[in-house]
């Protein structure tokens, strides 16, 4: 079994990753993120970004339409709940498969072009999916409200096995374990670890090397006897499956699928997550996803009351000034923070947060380790 052949360094990385995921409720509690819904989002969008990174980080194809795969994943998961069973396993299996199929279709067409033309093609497909899901396809998607469970759903498998949910609306459960709250988080967390492990294998495999070659020089690849199209398509489909799985998990933890998760801004969000964390790195996208979801959920919740508490150690006038300044960036102003953050990251840390960590490490080892601390000089902004 080649599992055991994983390099010791990678095994340690995987173990550390798993430990952080498992202990997240405790580790993230001090920064106010230790509650199940946000942790679920960390894990789910971590998977989404991991998958996106396989396409963008390795092959360099910038897709602006990946939210569409997340969306169809959610829809197929909710339909699985409605038609088959409230068990999350069939739901995420179908979500992954449908995400893969849909991405194979869109990828096959879009990959006939490269560069920004590819980006616009994926954007166009995703926007068409979104617009249709919002309006014309309402019988399948339930439009603006989003696809929801109802008591009268058939749930064939559940009925066949005599599972009766009584008069209440069922929620998904894994053999009796409800998928909300912390059990739901651990289900997502387990999937995240699994996906991280798969990504690690892909990164270290000859296939992964080929994907990086696609990004580096397609011309040389062709003259080296390699067909770039299937490699790019495979990466596209794999990332589409990750997105489908993420969409499925969104539905597992919260059985509602809304059309707006297919909008182009949602596709843009995963690009930002990947770049913020560091595209092409293993851990970066997960960190980026966490950072953005943290901003979205925590910063938007700050109001003047909370700010006043934060600055309560200051004299009253200073406190008021600080609250006035800070409130521009939190609560309803959290978009401003987000925008400014992107600019800062892209300008000063094009390699994302991972590059920041690396520079920090180099700095520290340069100072205390007495090494030359050169590393690889990263290009300054100019």
């Amino acid at each position: 079994m080649s599992f055991f052949k994983t390099q010791p360094k990678d095994l340690i990385l995987l173990l550390c990753f798993a430990v952080v995921v498992l202990l997240a409720p405790i580790l993230f509690a001090p920064i106010g993120a230790g509650y199940p819904d946000l942790l679920q989002k960390f894990a789910i969008f971590g998977i989404f970004a991991l998958g996106f990174n396989i396409l963008f980080g390795l092959t360099g194809y910038l897709s602006f339409g990946h939210a569409a795969f997340l969306g169809v994943g959610s829809y197929s998961a909710v339909w699985t709940f409605k038609l088959l069973s409230m068990n999350p396993l069939p739901a995420i299996i179908f979500a992954t498969l449908v995400g893969g199929l849909f991405s194979a279709l869109i990828g096959f067409i879009s990959l006939r072009r490269t560069g920004i033309y590819f980006s616009i093609l994926t954007l166009a497909f995703a926007q068409m999916s979104y617009n249709m899901a919002y309006s014309v396809l309402t019988p399948i998607t339930n439009g603006e409200t989003g696809l929801q469970l109802v008591q009268s759903d058939p749930r064939v498998l559940d009925v066949a096995f005599g599972r009766d949910y009584g008069a209440v609306l069922p929620s998904s459960d894994l053999f009796g374990i409800g998928m909300t709250g912390y059990p739901g988080y651990y289900f997502c967390g387990f999937m995240l670890i699994l996906c991280f492990f798969l990504t690690l294998r892909i990164f270290r495999s000859p296939f992964g090397m080929m994907l990086r070659a696609v990004k580096s020089n397609q011309n040389r690849m062709n003259y080296t006897g390699l067909n770039t199209k299937p490699y790019a398509l495979a990466a596209f489909v794999i990332s589409g499956m990750y997105a489908g799985l993420a969409g499925g998990l969104l539905a597992v933890t919260d059985p509602l699928a809304g059309a707006e998760r297919m909008q182009w801004t949602a596709s843009g969000e995963v690009v930002l997550m990947t770049i913020l964390g560091g595209s092409g790195t293993l851990l970066g996208p997960v960190i980026g996803a966490g950072a953005i979801k943290y901003f979205e959920n925590i910063f938007s919740a700050f109001n003047d009351q909370i700010l006043a508490q934060v600055y309560s150690f200051l004299p009253e006038i200073l406190q008021q000034i600080m609250v006035a300044i800070s409130s521009l960036f939190v609560g309803e102003g959290w978009h401003l923070t987000l925008g400014a953050l992107f600019m800062i990251i892209v300008i000063f840390l094009p390699g994302g947060l991972m590059e920041g960590f690396k520079r920090l490490r180099n700095l520290i080892s340069g100072k205390f380790g007495g090494g030359n601390g050169s590393g690889r000089a990263t290009a300054p902004a100019e």
Binding site: G115, A124, F125, Q127, L272, I275, F342
Partner: protein, 342 residues
């Protein structure tokens, strides 16, 4: 027939806006090689130039009327615009013409803004990957629109057209329809003519001035022109400013058509990118042609007769065209080889 004529007119005024935004985008791309996701924000800022001009003109002297109370018990305010107290009749006229007047303000404002943007941010991104250009300009767009939201709020702010242009013009008579069949709002026709004029001005500037010729040469082959000892960068900075002015004017003049709000730039951004790509990245003629083409097709797709056959077609037509064009003509309608393909 009159229905089709109306939709063509409608497509032309829509297309005018698309073309103007796309023109700036494609110039920036062709000269600087930068994918500017903040271009929609420039359009929005232009619109808010008009808002600001009107707001300044309608600055009011507030006096309290002790005899009248508001519903919540405070004295009623009496508001009189300063321009009317100072300039009387002329002030009222000025206020009436606030949108056209704002053009005079928008030109220098947008030029300064564009140049500042290029010098302060964009120039550091010439050699960076397109993905990073997209991200940094996208971040800038968010920051700009949030600032506008902070100042002007999230609701649309109506900007009426001057009284003379508020009515309708019987366009049909001019081209042989019966009276009253093809009647169209005057301001929209003005907008179309305005966009044609701006496009014409940009084209002749690039075609007939020596500055423009250097720029066009630089677009075709930057290195060679650089080798001739011409300071291309400084010219390109000005080009960026011009693109910003074009977007800003498009926005300012659009305000009577669409009440501006902070988010209007984003709505136009994706659309104008599709226009640029359909036209061919870096192609000026392509951007203009694609802008009008998409505007007209969008109008046709919105007709009942079409929607009844293909429900929802009006919502996807733009993207559908983009897909078809890119698959049939890989570089868009008038794109050049090798542009943006890696």
């Amino acid at each position: 027939m009159d229905a089709i004529a109306l939709q063509v007119l409608n497509g032309l005024d829509k297309g005018g806006a698309y073309a103007l935004i796309a023109l700036g985008l494609t110039i920036i791309f062709g000269t600087l090689g930068v994918v500017n996701f903040a271009h929609g924000a420039l359009f929005m800022l232009g619109a808010f130039c008009a808002v600001s001009v009107k707001a300044l003109l309608s600055l009011e002297a507030v006096t309290l009327d002790p005899n009248k109370l508001t519903a919540w018990g405070t004295p009623m305010e009496i508001r009189v615009p300063y321009v009317e107290t100072w300039f009387g009749e002329f002030g009222a006229t000025l206020l009436n013409y606030s949108v056209p007047v704002s053009i005079l303000v928008a030109i220098p404002m947008m030029l300064i803004l564009g140049i500042a943007m290029e010098r302060g941010l964009i120039r550091f991104f010439y050699k960076r990957p397109h993905a990073e250009q997209i991200l940094v300009t996208f971040g800038l767009a968010i920051v700009l629109q949030e600032i506008i939201k902070g100042i002007f709020g999230a609701n649309p702010i109506p900007q009426p057209a001057p009284e003379v242009a508020k009515g309708m013009i019987d366009f049909g008579i001019l081209v042989g329809f019966d009276a009253g069949n093809v009647v169209y709002p005057a301001w929209r026709l003005i907008y179309f003519l305005f966009s044609v004029a701006i496009i014409g001005a940009v084209f002749s500037f690039l075609r007939f001035t020596s500055f423009g010729m250097v720029v066009r040469a630089g677009m075709a082959d930057r290195e060679t022109v650089g080798l001739l000892g011409i300071d291309i960068d400084r010219r390109f900075t000005i080009v960026f400013g011009i693109a910003a002015v074009v977007a800003g004017l498009a926005g300012a003049m659009y305000t009577p058509i669409l009440s501006p709000d902070y988010h209007m730039g984003m709505d136009f951004l994706v659309l104008s990118f599709v226009v640029v790509v359909v036209g061919g990245m870096g192609s000026l003629g392509g951007a203009v042609a694609a802008g009008f083409l998409l505007g007209i097709l969008q109008s046709f797709a919105s007709m009942n007769e079409v929607k009844n056959i293909l429900p929802g077609i009006d919502q996807i037509i733009i993207y559908l065209i983009a897909v078809v064009v890119l698959l049939v003509r890989p570089r868009g309608l008038m794109g050049r080889k090798g542009m943006m393909e890696h």
